[in-house]
């Protein structure tokens, strides 16, 4: 028993305390150093933080270099995987293409049918080009929300033309001079736009609230249950002033009141587009 305990002590001392010729520290010393570092890092000592920061600088840079081969391997692995998946991908794409072609044909049929029906009811076909204009003045009066643009009758601007920012309606031309024009914004209380709530097809009049949004006017109570916050409002094209289908905003319901959250931020206008009416072909495009 005593002998076996001696053996254990000898083996233990040899393992933990013996130093080789080139070895500066014994195993036990290094274990104690590790424990001290751990305790200090638990106490959040400054010296350990400095050591950690220094190590991080060295290790992150070294790690970046050392991991290049693995990154390359990863890159090639992904490439090889993509290559192997190519056949399945091709089949999927072909199916998708077939589906889109069928949808395209159906859309073409609907457009031509729509145009034919418009012709039957005698509605004017509007084709619209556009002119880009710079906003010269941005009136922030509480009585009139309007902007002045640098295009006028010289550039064939006419009263009632729709003004858009990107694809969204922002107002209409209410005053035309030779070199400039005034545009009333859709947020103005005097602005009345004929719109349609899609996909329900409910026709409404949108008026500005004088601030940043709009309100829906003249809508029968029977339509309220059908409405929700997900519906979009477009120009209806009724009266032939605007092209139908220009996006205006999103419907917002609050108790029994209905608001319009316009798609464009009207306080950030620098350049706008004036849609010019031209009598023309079918799709409403020049």
């Amino acid at each position: 028993m005593v002998k076996s305990r001696d053996d254990f002590v000898i083996a233990f001392r040899s393992a933990f305390l013996k130093k080789n010729t080139k070895q500066r520290f014994s195993l036990l010393t290094l274990i104690i150093i590790s424990l001290i570092i751990l305790i200090f890092s638990n106490l959040n000592l400054k010296i350990i933080n400095i050591l950690e920061k220094g190590l991080q600088d060295i290790v992150y840079r070294s790690s970046l270099i050392v991991s290049i081969p693995e990154k390359k391997f990863n890159e090639y692995y992904i490439k090889a995987k993509d290559h192997l998946n190519l056949y399945n991908l091709k089949n999927e794409e072909e199916n998708l293409l077939e589906k889109y072609n069928a949808e395209k044909l159906a859309n073409e049929y609907l457009i031509s049918e729509n145009n034919r029906l418009r012709e039957i009811i005698g509605e004017q076909q509007l084709s619209q080009g556009s002119i880009i204009a710079k906003v010269l003045l941005d009136k922030e009066s509480p009585f009139l929300n309007s902007i002045i643009i640098n295009k006028g009758s010289k550039d064939n601007i006419e009263l009632g033309m729709a003004v858009v920012k990107g694809e969204y309606l922002i107002g209409k031309v209410i005053e035309v001079n030779f070199l400039t024009s005034r545009v009333i914004l859709i947020t103005d209380i005097n602005s009345k736009i004929a719109g349609v709530i899609e996909p329900l097809g409910i026709h409404v009049i949108i008026s500005g609230n004088g601030k940043t949004g709009g309100v829906i006017e003249y809508l029968k109570d029977e339509y309220y249950p059908k409405l929700n916050d997900e519906l979009n409002i477009y120009t209806s094209g009724v009266a032939g002033i605007f092209k139908p289908g220009i996006p205006i905003g999103k419907l917002k319901l609050n108790d029994k009141e209905m608001f319009v959250d316009f798609f464009t931020d009207l306080s950030q206008l620098d350049f706008v587009k004036i849609l010019i009416k031209e009598n023309g072909d079918s799709n409403g495009q020049k």
């Binding site: 053996d7 195993l27 274990i31 950690e52």
Partner: protein
């Protein structure tokens, strides 16, 4: 003269290749994440240190193991000193076993490796949970332990062949 220098550099590189591999493994922290295998992870460093400190400790100096442990802590953002402690404890176990073993046997080594990494994971768990309040998923540790144990014979064979070739 130049030829002799080249030969000695090559000899040193070959001789210290285990510690170089350990350093690269720690800095790289290769985990095969891109294989998208759920729960797959194993601790290559444990296997490497265990094998080389058991079979050829002069090729894997403990001071460098200590530094590799510090690097590993930085890469894996563990408390500084924890991996060093783990690695050095492996060295301690293998040094002790080497002293008391007359006839080495693979199965004994494998069982010893299991016991060692069980103790190490328990120490890790205790230190992280009690002293550093770091939450750890025990299941992840267990799976890592399982894969490390499974991969041990494969790397054992690979290292043995490598040792034969390089000697």
């Amino acid at each position: 003269m130049g030829k002799n220098n080249d030969a000695s550099i090559f000899f040193y590189l070959k001789f210290y290749s285990p510690i170089i591999i350990l350093l690269i493994a720690n800095l790289n922290e290769f985990d095969f994440n891109y294989l998208k295998l759920d729960y797959f992870s194993f601790n290559f460093s444990y296997i490497l240190i265990f094998y080389w400190s058991l079979k050829s400790p002069q090729q894997i100096p403990i001071s460098l193991i200590f530094i590799c442990g510090l690097f590993n802590d930085v890469v894996t953002s563990l408390p500084i000193g924890l991996s060093s402690l783990n690695y050095l404890l492996i060295c301690g176990v293998t040094a002790y076993v080497r002293n008391i073993t007359l006839r080495p046997n693979f199965i004994n080594d494998w069982i010893l490796f299991l016991i060692t990494i069980l103790i190490l994971n328990s120490i890790n768990f205790l230190i992280l949970q009690i002293f550093f309040n770091i939450e750890i998923d025990q299941m992840d540790y267990l799976i890592n332990l399982g894969f490390t144990l499974i991969f041990f014979p494969i790397f054992f064979l690979a290292f043995e062949n490598f040792q034969k070739i390089s000697s």
